[in-house]
């Protein structure tokens, strides 16, 4: 898998969350994603960027165009140096929330992606990468 383009966006305000999803939309359009696939990756980006902001205390989002043979896709990263997640398995469950939300952020973003990886530990922040192929 080869990464072609990398852009980075700060995620420290709720306006930044909007900017991240607009940047993801633009890349998805450039790659020729269908409207439904655009909407899925943008929605996943919105959930994860909000998590970076509200749970991670802010961080950054990266957008990469990735190529694997003839496949092209978007790989998004969300990284923060916040408190981290003590029980990742529990946090991935539908309905689990520590912020009074619906608890659909992580689990929903995973369902909207083709690939999903998370690394997090208390005190070490959280790194989440998702990929959606065209």
């Amino acid at each position: 898998m080869v990464a072609r383009t990398i852009e980075s966006h700060p995620v420290t305000t709720s306006e930044h969350v909007v900017q991240v999803r607009q940047a993801v939309r633009q890349r998805a359009v450039e790659l020729g994603f269908s409207l439904v696939d655009q909407t899925k990756i943008v929605t996943a980006a919105s959930e994860l960027a909000r998590n970076t902001l509200t749970h991670g205390g802010g961080g950054q989002a990266t957008i990469e165009v990735v190529v694997d043979g003839v496949r092209r896709g978007l790989r998004l990263g969300f990284e923060d140096d916040g408190p981290g997640i003590a029980d990742v398995e529990k946090a991935m469950k539908d309905g689990f929330s520590t912020a009074g939300g619906l608890g659909l952020g992580l689990s929903g973003a995973k369902r909207l992606s083709n690939e999903f990886s998370i690394s997090s530990a208390p005190g070490l922040g959280t790194r989440i990468f998702i990929t959606r192929w065209k």
Binding site: V17, V18, R21, T39, V42, T43, S46, R50, L102, R111
Partner: protein
């Protein structure tokens, strides 16, 4: 501070969300709408989301909250114009907007509100004709 405009038409409040809302703007709309329902005694709220290219869990929750709060204030909320791609994504995300009434477009949404308000008035036995 930027705000989403709320229009009053007859006994209904109309909102058309035309911008990509950040979370504080969504919360502001929720607060403004609830206040306007109480101030005007509106019986119906129509929210047009046809320009929204994405509804995530936060905006979905806001729509659910508005529907619930308006119900408590004796008003019916109808969300209209959701794009098909948004509907597909929202369900896959895990949200089906329980408790939120929807219609395909503004016209059908207004018809739904009229019917809902007439039905509620009929039950009130307030002497007004139930048409």
């Amino acid at each position: 501070m930027e705000r989403i405009p709320i229009l009053k038409m007859g006994g209904c409040l109309l909102v058309s969300i035309q911008v990509d809302m950040h979370d504080r703007l969504a919360m502001q709309l929720q607060d403004d709408l609830t206040a306007r329902i109480a101030a005007t005694g509106a019986r119906g709220v129509l929210i047009d989301i046809s320009a929204l290219e994405m509804v995530d869990s936060f905006i979905g929750r806001m729509l659910g909250n508005i529907a619930a709060m308006s119900r408590v204030l004796d008003a019916t909320t109808v969300v209209v114009g959701m794009q098909p791609a948004v509907a597909i994504t929202l369900v896959e995300l895990g949200m089906s907007l329980p408790g939120v009434r929807t219609a395909l477009n503004i016209e059908q949404g207004m018809a739904l509100l009229d019917a809902s308000i007439s039905a509620a008035d009929g039950e009130d036995s307030d002497g007004r004709p139930d048409d």
